[in-house]
């Protein structure tokens, strides 16, 4: 089972905390290389990476500053990062929003679990998607 390097973009502190908890409890599916609060901070961090870029970016939609949509377009437009799949996660399951994300270029869209305590299945599902869709070379 391959371990993917993942950056989590999420503005809510508590959410971040429990996400991290969930990822760790899921085993060695992912290695969280960074947790940033919004799109601006993501791109700042990416700038500094040079060689070791993450495999996947998991991003919330609703963030102050550059939000999820900005993350998608920002990643797509930069040739350095265009290949890195961006998966959006949000509480919303509204079709229009999902379509919008996918339309903009998100690799996939996952609805967040009901509470922060149920992240493990979420992480497993995320891994499965990446594998099935061969999002990472």
């Amino acid at each position: 089972m391959r371990t993917y390097k993942i950056v989590i973009v999420e503005n809510d502190e508590d959410e971040q905390f429990f996400m991290k908890d969930g990822f760790e409890k899921a085993g060695r599916l992912f290695e969280i290389v960074a947790q940033v609060r919004n799109g601006d901070m993501l791109f700042e961090w990416l700038e500094q990476q040079n060689d070791s870029l993450p495999h996947v970016v998991l991003s919330d939609l609703n963030m102050p500053g550059m939000n999820g949509y900005d993350v998608i377009t920002g990643m797509q437009n930069d040739p350095r990062y265009a290949k890195i799949p961006v998966i959006i996660t949000s509480t919303s399951s509204t079709p229009t929003i999902i379509d919008k994300c996918l339309g903009l270029g998100a690799a996939d869209y996952l609805v967040k679990p009901e509470t922060w305590l149920e992240y493990t299945p979420f992480v497993q599902k995320l891994h499965r998607i990446i594998e099935d869709k061969k999002l990472v070379d």
Partner: protein, 626 residues
């Protein structure tokens, strides 16, 4: 006194020739020389046959003499030849001269030149012959003569064809055979003759009877004929078979009837006739419907009655007739009057009507009421106009809907995220608490409860803001003249706390005294903007400058701060509902303040826009009415 015989003989106009017993000429008088051209020397001992063409015709002259000898005289008429070869018509009378014993002594012959009379006679005969042939030959008319009692004397081809009798069948019969029994009972035939005598002629159209018993309708003219002594010698009767004519007339009448019915019943067109002076002589259903007059009311009136007064004064009706006469027809569209005085737009054609010989008999006029057409045209135009207006309205509604849609989408987004987020937080912490409680770990519980409460408060604030924002669109603005200074002072009053805490410096640079709008909302507008100006300053003490200038018929306000500024890429995002460019921690706020400002400005028919550079402060401009 005994006249000199010789003298008598010489003075006679008749020619006298004396013949001897053998028929030889012994004596001629002067008249004979004159008539015949011969002298006595020419004729002495010659026979009378010298006067004939065949001068050697002894047989004839012998015969004549024999008759004269036997009966006493011989009379003849015939051509005689003169000495010069010319001819004359002569009446000859040969008498024998007998002695006492009845023996022939000789002959005496008188000769008269009756050429002239003969000529007349011939001419007359010829002319009569011609007339007779002519009359006989006429086939269309029955022409015959009757004697004074009414018996048929002559018969022509026409009579034969018309009545069926041939000449020999009818001549000598009484002309009453041509009459019906009814007429005979009334003694019509006799009555007609008497009237003809009395009046000089009798004419009638009546029934007559053919040989085969069938009756026919005839035109009959009886004319009495008198000789030179004014004695009635008979009648001429000329008969014309009118049956064909009658059929013709009947056909014509029927066709006219049909035509009249046709015209009368047309309801869409007024079709009627005018006499040559322009008076109305006929009327149809359409004319009645269009113009309102009944036939009784309008016949006899001048057609100028249909024209508006100004047209009559300029002589328009007359002019139209004139053109129709000269050109054949007059056509136009124009105003005409109905019986009730109302005008209608008509299409009119006036055609001059001539009889067969070319004289002007009158005019026909065809009128069409175009009001309906005009009305439909007008209705069509109006409907196009309405359609066009509706399209415009639709466009406006469409763009309004579009805008409303956008807002709805935003709303959806808000509900999706921003309201779900605190709920999730609370749920998560509750679950966590439950887990900890079960595990007997009580340390973090207070933290979890606090966080939950915060989340709940966040949600409440969110909901309130949302409601407030949505209310801004509805309801009526209480617009009035508002004092600008009052507005700003009220806003600053509400922000007193944060102004003090941040030690903010407020600068006013207002040229304008009054604006027009809702006091409450405008106060909030200033409040939000000033609050932002203060809030988003981190390095120094906030300095807020408020300006107001006249800008054509509006007022342009500016609220400038020395705060963190807005990056160019974010400039168009600042007004999005709940859109925060910075994290909650750094700069608290729900992100709805500017959305509210925009809503208020737009409701007041103004505009709002930011001017900023990251790190170099921000100015928000907005316009209001006066």
């Amino acid at each position: 006194m005994v006249a000199d015989t010789q003298m008598i003989l010489d003075n006679l106009t008749e020619a006298v020739i004396v013949l001897n017993r053998d028929g030889g000429i012994t004596y001629i008088n002067n008249a004979m020389s004159r008539i015949s051209g011969y002298d006595i020397s020419d004729l002495l001992n010659k026979s009378l046959s010298i006067l004939y063409r065949n001068q050697q015709d002894m047989i004839k002259s012998q015969y004549e003499l024999q008759v004269a000898a036997r009966t006493g005289n011989f009379v003849s008429e015939g051509w005689k030849t003169r000495k010069d070869g010319s001819r004359f018509w002569g009446e000859m009378n040969i008498s024998s001269i007998k002695d006492a014993s009845e023996a022939i002594e000789g002959y005496c012959c008188t000769l008269r030149d009756t050429s002239a009379q003969k000529e007349e006679e011939l001419q007359l005969r010829q002319s009569e012959e011609r007339y007779r042939i002519m009359v006989e030959g006429v086939k269309d008319y029955s022409i015959f003569m009757m004697d004074a009692q009414g018996y048929v004397c002559t018969w022509n081809d026409g009579a034969r064809l018309m009545k069926g009798y041939s000449a020999h069948e009818i001549i000598g019969k009484h002309f009453s055979v041509f009459y019906t029994t009814e007429d005979l009972d009334k003694k019509k035939a006799e009555v007609e003759l008497n009237i003809a005598i009395r009046d000089g002629r009798y004419e009638e159209d009546g029934w007559r009877v053919r040989k085969n018993g069938t009756v026919f309708w005839a035109n009959v003219i009886l004319t009495p004929l008198y000789n030179e002594q004014n004695v009635l010698i008979g009648f001429s009767k000329v008969t014309r078979d009118l049956t064909e004519k009658r059929l013709h007339e009947e056909a014509l009448r029927q066709s006219e009837e049909r035509y009249r019915l046709l015209v009368e019943q047309v309801t869409d067109y007024g079709i009627f006739m005018l006499d040559e002076k322009g008076r109305i002589i006929s009327w149809n259903e359409g004319a009645k419907r269009i113009k309102g007059y009944t036939e009784a009311e309008i016949v006899g009136k001048y057609f100028s009655i249909f024209y508006p007064e100004e047209d009559i004064l300029t002589g328009k009706p007359k002019h139209e007739l004139k053109v129709a006469r000269e050109v054949g027809k007059y056509e136009e569209e124009g105003w005409r009057l109905k019986k009730d005085g109302s005008k209608f737009w008509a299409n009119v054609v006036i055609t001059a009507v001539h009889s067969a010989d070319g004289t002007l008999v009158g005019y026909s006029k065809v009128t069409r009421d175009l009001s309906e057409r005009k009305n439909s045209e007008k209705a069509l135009r109006e409907s196009y106009e309405r359609y066009r207006m509706l399209t415009e309205e639709l466009k406006v509604t469409n763009s309004e809907l579009s805008y409303a849609n956008q807002e709805l989408e935003q709303f959806t987004s808000i509900v999706s995220h921003d309201l779900q987020e605190p709920v999730r937080t609370i749920k998560s912490f509750l679950k966590l608490m439950e887990m900890k409680l079960s595990a007997g770990e009580y340390e973090q519980l207070h933290t979890y409860i606090d966080k939950s409460t915060n989340a709940a408060n966040r949600m409440k604030e969110l909901i309130q803001n949302l409601l407030h924002y949505s209310q801004l669109s509805k309801g009526s603005l209480k617009e009035q003249e508002v004092n600008v200074n009052d507005l700003i002072n009220d806003a600053l009053q509400n922000l007193r706390a944060s102004v003090e805490v941040s030690n903010a410096n407020i600068e006013l640079d207002c040229e304008i005294e009054k604006v027009y709008g809702d006091k409450v909302q405008l106060t909030q507008l200033f409040q939000n903007l000033i609050s932002n100006a203060i809030k988003f300053t981190d390095t120094e003490n906030p300095r807020v400058r408020i300006t107001a200038q006249q800008d054509n018929d509006q007022v342009r306000f500016g609220i400038t701060d020395n705060g963190i500024g807005i990056a160019e890429k974010d400039l168009n995002k600042v007004f999005d509902i709940f859109r925060r460019l910075n994290t909650e921690k750094a700069f608290p706020g729900t992100g709805i303040g500017l959305a509210i400002c925009k809503k208020i400005v737009e409701r007041h028919r103004g505009k709002i826009w930011p001017q900023s550079e990251k790190g170099k402060g921000t100015t928000f401009y907005f316009t209001l009415q006066q």
